[in-house]
Subunit: 704 residues, 2 copies
């Protein structure tokens, strides 16, 4: 549904940044601990295979390598160049690199937009210089990139004191250098294989979206961990999320600045436009990106995702030796939205015949009895997999798995069952740190805490559902023809514009004669409301100028006469244009629909239940425009107050289909109207009972 | 406010169960791995100081100890006896122990209420036997208890294969044996000192509340971890929570069965009455018990609580080397409800003069610059403590703390600053597992994940606030005199009963004459509503029998005449009793108040905004009855829709004081009315603008 304007092939232009064959370091230092010394030291220690060219006008060699006095003296254009010179020299250095023919540059140098106005101005020049030469520029003010698969270290992070990356295909993309390497280090402490880490810093040219897009198509990366403070660029970002989903590469993202407090800190920390968090949240959800609240959660999810098992319809079967843990896991599964259907009746009966006091429904509690005698545990485990058919199986063993006597026996039996069903997500929750590597080697995911296991399992299902959705052919959404007026339209004009685009207003017609009123009422459908129509009478009800429940032709004629008579009596001299005949709306649910323009993602639609629901409870859903009717209905169903549309409190069910159609049409209108459209408010939209439609009672269109 | 009927001294009667000087094991086994063998093996290995008497009719010695053929043969009554015999013999064994003079028994034996009807009946007999002898009975179907401080092991858990308890004063009280030892084992893996663990099993006599109460007064325990599936007993439980709070002992509790799914599993797992989760939640909140959602969260909180620093007004200062982490921590603090006030302006200016590009507001981001040169880090840390005055200080260092060069320097500087402010909660978030023990020895709390650190810090503030509240003298709440009628009262009678108790109804008076109506209107206050009063006229408005906005004496007289005339015209022959004069209520906020009887905790009050708020959004607050006006106001302010009472959408502020008074009065009424009161519904209660009161428009009282 998203109209992507970025060719995925463009992401491959970052190859030289992450997978270079030759490297130059401008401002190379002989001291290994200095910013200009670290990349060289790292690549020399790890054994980067290509040529490394230090540029340093003051030394013949740098860290044992022959040095070059200037960029111009380089033997040829390097695949990538690292700029580690003071800010005052950075732009000139970039220009020299461009003239030399270099097309990928990593700029460590700080003192640009993150600092002050002058720095921001310098950054604009830096960007212009990069664009003029067609250079893909990472940074400035970034910690750089490393790709341990080819031993390339274009970074000055100090985080390798704890150890080098271990093999694995989890990629890290981060706007923050410090937090990006924090994720790497925390992952390393757990043994996670994160061989590619890219930090984007000030994003003068390469933005987070470019990096995500590169990872989405790079064979080095299966799973993407992303850290963002604010999305500054739209097209690459959306194209990257779309490509990752189509390539079945899960993205787990931390986007900080969720709170008001955090939002303020994010803006002081970077030169970022933090954007509205709710909009980012909606965009991530649109593409099946799972948002992690903590680093720990991100790493849990990445760890599980590296198995590359993403059930499109995830179900969880639980095998436990503790009833208490079973209850706890059930609570966690409900909170995380993971289905735990019961075991088939026959399977339950079978298990009950084996251990009379077991509770085999799901959670399958085989009771502590099994820990005294493991002979039946494989039968239980296999029944959960085969009879239960669950896509994910969580097995809770507490400290039993660590037992000297039972531990090895348990491991052997569980290994055998798992091997028969390798397509499932098999997860152990146990207190046996020393056994974790062994179980992992057998193909298990291991978590100490069962609640964390459930969260990770839930994320795998969300990825699976998103990947399955990407495979469905989305109906191409037809955009209406919209011609915005020169100036802000009146309410009537706004309603007319929207009605043309598929958002109907409450049907009404101005009628000068009784005959016209009768015809209008027949067209609209009885009962109708009659209102006196006069530019001079503002408060119609005060003079009895509104008649409700006008039920038939005779009543319309009588009402027409009554209204004219009342106008003559109570407002003598008022110009009377006739009578407005309008559809009588009763028992409607009041909704509010709106469009606003997000500075990054463009027009965004909002829907909520009217009045207090929006103003007090902030019970609203957002989605980037345009989207189809099915998506609109998902938004509507996500509202906490949806029950009000669904027959709560003895009401008839509301016409959700008509509401969804109006919402989807509004989203198409917003895109078709183009950038002059600043916002739309349809409030209220009156939703009648099923089959009777949904009508705008008021509408405002704002132009920019 | 709670009326406690349990003398805290009663909890000391559990001393013999947890701190015995002599132990008998009935059904003692020579095999160390058997249920009847483990307690002996554990105590022998650990060196329990008192005599251990195995009872086994078939052997002269058991595990090297002289054995006794029967309970009668024991040299004297043991302080505690452990029953490890089959179910069929358990009751008789308990009776023998009682006759011998034993007053504390731990019953491992299963096959009682957790099994079937016959087992439940046997459990009733077991309880009767214990009560007859005045025995404190733990179990049956429990894993027992251990108290490593005196090397007492009255348990058959297999969890010591990983190691013995380490010193520390965190106590574990658990209804589930398997989950109780899971908590212990998980704590041991982290080095937490949990020397006392008590599991209650079927709770035939000793319930969770007794155990919590014992811990609340026992010097062995500073911090209590509790695991519950359902609270079966009220008095001890409430007294224990109250005592723990007064003794400044924090309780962190997992109460599973939160979800519908979990609730079902909890019931199949134990013979527990799970009770309504929302009521338990309200009771825990009342006493400042912090509810943990996961074992990990429980252990994080217990770990922090063991420092015994509980700020009554908690504020968080953050010192970070990563702006991104600062934002993340701000998000987490807002979500957890921890205040992060900014640093004083002068202190900010001082820090800015030291590191120009630092962000010193709070989070205080001293930037990565500081990691190249630690000379200023102690100045920054001290400023956060001294100038900021925060009660909790979280310092984020990622992997820097693990650095070979910077690590030791950082540790030394931070140690010095911390030592000057030992009353603060000093918390490190770092990726340096090998440094954790050293920092802990310096007095720091260490967390890898900053979000988990924030959660633990938040819990310390919640404990502190609860302890401070316990120190305030709560006004004794006067209960009204209530005499319930024989049968369910009519609406009018219900309103009258409630009005007497302090929940006023909409003022109205039946008047037979115009003079009486004028007097009534004057008493109630103008404007009033007049309604025709006749047992024969059910739908007053249909005959024009209701007059609104009756503004003065003349209008009352005129209205009286009009109503009688309309009645004569439209309902000839109806018996007319006169006119009802009622207060005119306009612009009120509709609330719903209610009382229901929880099977465990007795009368519970509920308050919510009327209509959709309750039915669709479940936006309600609960509290055990009775409670004072301040507590009632806290409940009201906790509603998501509170803004509606607080002047949202241009309304005047509602009379929250009158609402709170009505709610508190209702709670006192519920207690005073006694157990015959099954429930009360006041719906709606109309809350007028500030100073104008709150009035019940309808009320139902149900009797049981």
């Amino acid at each position: 549904m998203s109209r992507l304007t970025v060719d995925p092939a463009r992401f491959a232009t970052l190859d030289a940044l992450v997978r270079p064959r030759s490297v130059a370091v401008i401002g190379a230092s002989d001291e290994k601990a200095r910013i200009g010394g670290r990349p060289l030291a790292y690549m020399l220690e790890r054994g980067f295979a290509g040529p490394i060219w230090p540029v340093n006008p003051k030394r013949p060699t740098v860290q044992g390598l022959p040095a070059f006095a200037s960029v111009a003296d380089l033997p040829e254009a390097p695949d990538v160049a690292i700029i580690a010179v003071p800010a005052a020299m950075a732009i000139d250095t970039l220009d020299q690199l461009g003239r030399k023919g270099c097309r990928a540059v990593i700029c460590f140098t700080a003192g640009f937009a993150e600092m002050d106005e002058a720095g921001a101005a310098a950054q604009v020049k830096l960007t212009e210089t990069a664009r003029r030469h067609g250079i893909r520029l990472l940074g400035p003010n970034c910690l750089g990139v490393f790709n341990d698969a080819i031993r390339f270290y274009g970074t000055f992070t100090a985080s390798f004191e704890k150890g080098w990356p271990v093999p694995g295909r989890i990629g890290v993309a981060s706007q923050s250098g410090a937090y990006g390497t924090h994720i790497f280090s925390a992952g390393l402490d757990r043994g996670l294989g994160m061989q590619v880490v890219i930090t984007t810093g000030n994003e003068a040219e390469v933005a987070l979206g470019d990096v995500l897009g590169w990872m989405a198509q790079a064979p080095e990366v299966d799973v993407i961990c992303a850290y963002a403070e604010g999305i500054r660029e739209r097209e690459s970002f959306l194209a990257a999320l779309d490509l990752a989903r189509r390539n079945r590469k899960p993205i787990v993202m931390m986007k900080v600045g969720r709170s008001q407090l955090g939002g303020a800190a994010a803006q002081s920390h970077t030169a970022s436009i933090a954007g509205d968090d709710a909009v980012t949240e909606a965009v991530l959800e649109e593409f099946g990106v799972v948002r992690a609240r903590t680093t720990e959660e991100m790493l849990d999810i990445a760890y599980a995702a590296a198995k590359r098992i993403y059930p499109a319809k995830n179900t969880l079967g639980v095998l436990t030796v503790s009833g208490g843990a079973g209850v706890l896991i059930s609570d966690a599964a409900e909170a995380a939205g993971v289905a735990m259907p019961p075991m088939p009746e026959a399977a339950q009966a079978k298990l009950r015949s084996l251990i009379p006091f077991c509770a085999p429904r799901n959670p399958v509690d085989c009771t502590a009895q099994v820990t005294n005698d493991l002979t039946m545990i494989d039968t239980f485990a296999e029944s959960v997999a085969a009879d239960g058919g669950y896509t994910s199986i969580l097995s809770f063993w507490s400290q039993t798995a660590a037992g000297r006597s039972l531990g090895p026996k348990l491991q052997e039996k569980m290994r055998a069952v798992r091997a028969k069903y390798p397509d499932r997500l098999w997860v152990m929750s146990m207190l046996a740190p020393e056994k974790v590597r062994e179980y992992e080697a057998d193909g298990w995911l291991c978590f100490e805490d069962p609640s964390r296991a459930v969260n990770a399992i839930a994320a795998m299902g969300r990825f699976g559902a998103a990947f399955a959705k990407a495979e469905q052919k989305a109906a191409e959404l037809a955009l209406p023809q919209v011609t915005l007026p020169e100036t802000t339209p009146t309410e009537a004009a706004a309603k007319a514009l929207l009605a043309e685009a598929g958002v109907p207003a409450v049907p009404e017609r101005a009628c000068a004669t009784p005959d016209a009123a009768v015809a209008a009422a027949k067209a609209i459908g009885f009962p109708v409301v009659l209102k006196i129509l006069s530019p001079d009478i503002l408060h119609k009800s005060e003079i009895g100028g509104v008649l409700l429940d006008v039920a038939d032709e005779a009543a319309v004629r009588a009402g027409f006469a009554t209204l004219l008579e009342r106008a003559a009596t109570h407002a003598p001299g008022a110009r009377i244009e006739g009578v407005l005949v309008a559809k009588q709306i009763k028992g409607a649910v009041e909704m509010a629909l709106g469009i606003f323009r997000d500075p990054v993602f463009g027009p965004v639609a909002m829907v909520g239940l009217g009045g207090i629901f929006i103003e007090v409870l902030k019970d609203v859903a957002f989605r980037r425009c345009p989207f189809d009717v099915a998506e609109a209905e998902r938004m509507i169903r996500s509202l906490r107050g949806f029950a009000l549309l669904d027959g709560a409190r003895g009401r008839p069910k509301a016409d959700v289909a008509a509401l969804a159609k109006a919402l989807s049409s509004l989203s198409a209108f917003a895109v078709a109207a183009g950038p002059r459209l600043a916002g739309v408010d349809v409030n209220p939209l009156l939703v009648l009972p099923e089959g009777e439609g949904a009508y705008a009672a008021d509408a405002v269109i704002e132009l920019g």
